[in-house]
């Protein structure tokens, strides 16, 4: 008998008979009202050009697909990263700050910021902004890994996320072939690259929020 199923479908059928993969344990949530989404994203980054590329000032646009950790497509993101970091800034490794369990805490200067919109399969959006930090790591074959990390605050949302509050975080990388950093060709205006990120959302929906958050008291005039 001819079986028209693809190999991928057959593998999924085997998986269905074995059982369902685990979700993030509930204990990792603050409480039962909090929604936590753990993802990775794959897409393209593009550096700015023209008057938007004036080193150390540069912008990067990210356009990426978003997946859960089982590879299921969740949606996409559009974002912009502004960097005022020099290449020496990116190569620097900050000095350690032991003891790690007690003050003081270093205050590294922030020279990078991000904004973005994450759109889910049903069209609902999350908008967020936050500071960022990039880092260049030299591999021993002369290539580099361009790394970015950002801690964002959710500013608003649409659809099922209208009026939500929360935070999100991302850390992503892109490969820089050997020779580009050494010859001053990275970053360069208009160049594109493949970007891959890990992203986490912690969200509280509007219906779970109290008046102190929904209708904050305006500051009194002095």
């Amino acid at each position: 008998m001819h079986d028209s199923r693809t190999l991928s479908e057959i593998i999924r059928n085997i998986g269905d008979k074995i059982g369902t993969a685990q979700d993030l344990p509930r204990i990792a949530h603050s409480n039962w009202r909090e929604e936590v989404i753990v993802t990775y994203c794959v897409g393209q980054g593009k550096f700015s050009s023209g008057d938007q590329f004036a080193p150390p000032l540069a912008f990067i646009n990210l356009q990426m697909d978003m997946y859960d950790l089982h590879g299921k497509w969740l949606g996409f993101q559009l974002g912009v990263h502004e960097s005022q970091s020099t290449v020496p800034d990116l190569l620097a490794v900050w000095p350690p700050s032991a003891p790690w369990t007690a003050p003081p805490v270093p205050h590294p200067e922030v020279k990078e910021w991000t904004k973005g919109i994450w759109t889910f399969e049903d069209g609902s959006e999350i908008h967020a902004v936050g500071p960022a930090q990039s880092h260049l790591v030299p591999f021993n074959d002369g290539s580099f890994l361009f790394m970015v990390t950002t801690g964002q605050t959710i500013t608003n949302g649409t659809g099922r996320y209208a009026g939500c509050h929360g935070t999100k975080q991302a850390t992503g990388t892109a490969f820089v072939p050997a020779g580009l950093i050494q010859s001053g060709k990275f970053p360069a205006p208009g160049i594109t690259f493949t970007a891959r990120t890990l992203e986490v959302f912690r969200i509280l929906k509007k219906k779970d929020l109290g008046q102190e958050t929904l209708n904050p008291t305006p500051a009194k005039a002095p």
Partner: protein, 208 residues
Amino acid sequence: MSTQTLRGSFEELAARIGGWPEIPKDAYTDPREELIYRYSVGTGKFVAQDGKNYIEITTKLYKLNGDLDGHYEGVDEPVVDLRELLKRPSPPRPPFDEPSGPVDHVPVLSYSKGIWTFADGSSIYAIGPANLHTVQYVDGAHNLWVTANQLIVGGSGRYHGCQGTKIVAGSSWVPKGVPLDATNPFSVKTIEGFRVIRKEHIGTMPSA
């Protein structure tokens, strides 16, 4: 059928046999980077030292399948009045589909550092800004979030001499009636994402 789809199906099958999957290969830029997701559960408490307030954090670290995998200790230093945490930044302005501004320069509300020690005793150290945001629940309780972007500045054991980046998604539920800065220990839940390059893969810095 694409190779990527077939690989995704095998990864999903592996997940169902063995529990939570490791992070899919599509999330890796290069095989020399190591990607780690962990969650942690523990407590935080406010402490005062030299006229400043700090949050000291002590948690146990778990793989996403629930297996214990070490512990995390850290310190957060808020640099604004805690009442400021009820506010949040303005929504971002377009464009979002091209590499250009404006991008608002969101201020940093706190700074963080920490040590993440894994089950084999190897550890990772990291430092970075950590913004904070607080909301009130409909029942009068509060939630305090920490959103940190950190640089890995070193490590020990298998992570000796490593570099990389990491994120912290911290969340604390504060019962109704308990002040946000109460000195009693409060619940801390975090999700930690690491991108690590071990020392054996790191080359020399380019000359000036």
